[in-house]
């Protein structure tokens, strides 16, 4: 029980509702103390490159797949393009838990709304739901999002910042690799691209983030949402960092890769394993009651 709850229950006063920001002041004070840099970084941030582009028949979203905890790679192939509705997906940068949860919450809200209104969700609805929640938490929910989808008003991309500001754009990038990705966008974006050109641009932008930003890496996920309501969610569309060949090139001792037949048989009855790969150890031997 927090102190405010104890005091108010003692005085029979209604408990305050809404989010309590008390601890934020305490946390800031702790971070300001000497030795604060020694504190372990606990939040798993995505340290990301995410992009979104509008083209002539829809939108293309792209994201890298590296999740970091400080300077360690926490996950090499995480999913940063989150489902919101059949016609909308949302890329998330910032604290991984925040982006995951907030998109799931809004996806549920949108599904209930679709049941109530009997019509497909609009991108501006998702944008408004997200920004209102983020603003309420004053930036403490560290989620920077690139929302993209197609609805009755056509294809659009929204960029949503952690404090709740939004911008409706034809192309945008967010995350630690956003400058590298934006350099490629500003250099090569043009109005009314074809799907192939847009996907290629997104792959190049994410590639710039993967190779030039240390917080981004591994593979590139792509999601194409078209105005005819089809979606291509291409997980690991580009895999420029395959380590399979590198690992296979390492000469490891044969002791680690035992193949059948290494040990020569000295003779005697050979117990061939049962074709179904079961043995006496797999069955219970029970005395038969009938004789």
């Amino acid at each position: 029980m927090s102190m405010s709850q104890i005091h108010s229950s003692a005085a029979n006063v209604a408990e305050p509702s809404g989010f309590s920001f008390e601890n934020t002041l305490r946390n800031d004070m702790i971070l300001g103390l000497p030795g604060a840099s020694m504190l372990p970084q606990v939040t798993k941030k995505t340290g990301t490159t995410i992009v979104g582009v509008v083209y002539n028949n829809g939108v293309v979203l792209g994201a890298d797949t590296r999740a970091t905890s400080g300077s360690e790679v926490a996950e090499k192939n995480c999913e940063k393009i989150h489902y919101l509705s059949p016609n909308m997906y949302c890329c998330g940068a910032g604290t991984a838990a925040d982006t995951e949860k907030i998109t799931q919450l809004v996806a549920s809200q949108l599904e209930l709304l679709r049941m109530n209104t009997h019509s497909p969700s609009r991108v501006v609805t998702a944008c408004t739901l997200l920004k209102r929640r983020l603003f309420r938490f004053q930036g403490h929910i560290s989620a920077a999002l690139v929302l993209g989808g197609c609805d009755i008003n056509g294809p659009c991309i929204y960029q949503i910042a952690p404090h709740g500001s939004t911008a409706k754009l034809s192309y945008t990038t967010m995350g630690s690799g956003s400058l590298a990705a934006m350099a490629v966008m500003e250099s090569s974006w043009k109005e009314d691209m074809t799907e192939e050109e847009a996907v290629k641009l997104v792959q190049r932008s994410i590639g710039a983030g993967i190779f030039n930003d240390l917080g981004s890496g591994s593979n590139c996920d792509v999601c194409v949402i078209r105005t005819d309501s089809t979606v291509s969610y291409r997980r690991n569309d580009v895999r420029p960092n395959e380590i399979g060949p590198l690992r296979d090139a390492v000469n490891r001792s044969a002791v680690l890769n035992m193949i059948p037949g290494l040990t020569p048989l000295k003779g005697g009855p050979v117990r061939v394993p049962h074709p179904a790969k079961v043995s006496l150890a797999d069955v219970d031997v029970v005395m038969s009651t009938s004789s």
């Binding site: 509008v54 609009r122 991108v123 501006v124 944008c127 408004t128 609805d151 008003n153 659009c156 929204y158 939004t166 911008a167 409706k168 034809s170 400058l179 590298a180 990705a181 934006m182 350099a183 490629v184 500003e186 250099s187 043009k190 109005e191 190049r204 590639g207 710039a208 190779f211 030039n212």
Partner: protein
Amino acid sequence: MSKQHTTRPITTGTSVVGLVYDGGVLLAADTLLSYGSMAKSFNTPRMVSIDERILLGASGEYSDFQEVVQKVKALALEQKTQSMESLYEDRPLSAKSLWNYLRAVMYQKRSKFNPFWNDVVVAGYENGSSFLGVVDKLGTTLQENCVATGFGAYLAMPLLREQYRPDLSEGEARALLEDCMKVLFYRDCRASARIQLAKVTADGCIISEPYELDQSTGWNAPSMIRPVGDLDGDGGW
């Protein structure tokens, strides 16, 4: 006697971008001098040539750059006229040795907590090959085929790394650098569209006059001009 130490840059220049191409080195920088968020001057050159054979460019505190240039010009003159060897033969300053001299100067200043607050780019062409190096305010040196200081490290380097080839012609190198300067103008608050290009080859240095980047296509895309907040559309912005 109390000493003052540099704690922050006041009058600043933004990125310098450069690359090695087939036959020389090309550098680019804009000519904006910023005073915090104020544009102090639109026509300040941030690249100079030493002995018409070496190019020096810098971002960061402009007064420190001016001091560094003065020191370097004095060094070049001294080496040309006062060294014993200069009596018998012409041994001008080489870009690589100048780069190393700057490293020593910058490192010494920073060790006394009073740095020259610059990222200095040194470019030259000697012994039949190009030289491009950078020295930062801590005395760190890098010799690379593509360099970019300041914001350019985040915006221009990805483009340079993607498109650099050792056999670029001068025209291709120039187009690549102008593309980088255009992206910097779009996304760096302290950059301008008025730029200078500088080239050093076996024939020496040339620094162009400042000129404006072509912005005719920048903000003309219909989707950028269309108002988004109207209720005609989805009402979102």
